[in-house]
Symmetry: C2
Amino acid sequence: MSDQPMLPIEAGTAPEPDIVVVPGRRLRARLVATFATAEPGDFRTVAAERLDLIHGGIAGDRHHGFTRHSGGREPWFPRGTEIANDRQLSILSLEDLAEIATRLDVPEVRPEWIGANLVVEGIARFSFLPKGTRLFFEDGAVVALAGQNAPCKIAGRAIAAEVPDRPDLELGFPKAAKRLRGVIGWVERPGPVFPGQAVSVHVPEQWIYPA
Amino acid sequence: MSDQPMLPIEAGTAPEPDIVVVPGRRLRARLVATFATAEPGDFRTVAAERLDLIHGGIAGDRHHGFTRHSGGREPWFPRGTEIANDRQLSILSLEDLAEIATRLDVPEVRPEWIGANLVVEGIARFSFLPKGTRLFFEDGAVVALAGQNAPCKIAGRAIAAEVPDRPDLELGFPKAAKRLRGVIGWVERPGPVFPGQAVSVHVPEQWIYPA
């Protein structure tokens, strides 16, 4: 972040002067792969030539909906509580997937093994894009990011099923993929997405809440 | 933030070691006032004994909906584009309102003048709560925060209409209220909200995206 100006908030416009606001900025990326739900009940996804993003998520996808039922990722709710759905899509980067593969000492970790919907290329440390980042796709769709996706044993098992003689991957994946397993997000504006599209990544201004 | 531990991400779990992850934490607050839409078309709100938060926002409120039409706050969309609605509620703090009043040299700025729905007390620099913060209300409702609300001339005009002989407030408000005008948010889990409720504020872990 050496070339990013760190701007203190303007004198006289906040109660305390110790919050540093880092300006938002735009980055360029490319969408390199799109995947849709495979069989009902199957964790994996399958390559698709194109996805139609609509309000609520991917048309026809099992994660589509304005609400969803809470699960193990939200232990503060009784399981099955109907909550707002900010987990409409799973988005990964080629670079983070390659890093996971290196750490696991496997030739590759394919995004469809772990339920990815979109894979992008060209953003360093993609999984660290902050909440509120917007991905503007070339043909009009916009996806808002809700934060990092936590790698779990279910995804680890799916990877282990694809790699011969590596049962250790089931438990190894959650550790190796921490903060590399991409982000979740929701559709802000509908539109088509397909491989080859340019993506403008709008990182919002950020600060660390100090209280 | 002197007593907050700054944790570098674990060695070997991220491509680069220069991202500092600040842990999430919980803060205690109190809900001190609730307001509902006044007349249709009226910017102001009116005190309500209780609000029913449902998926999409406040039952019966003009801002309720899973989607909304974009306006001047989203100049990157053609006006009227149907987008996901993360602006279901306007939430302010007593402390930030008092600071705005001090800066404007007026006895008070009442939350209902500027369309507030919820007013809380007890959180320092409330308007800086980061995107993804969750407010857990005592009786089950949960509201997710989407970021700072930008003060505008319309709100300034509403304040000027309430304070005799201070036409300067219309233009003075947007400047004085910057980063003090509260936050917007959406309903994550339905439930009733009413004055006096305890609020548990879950601030998520944070970092500054470095790329």
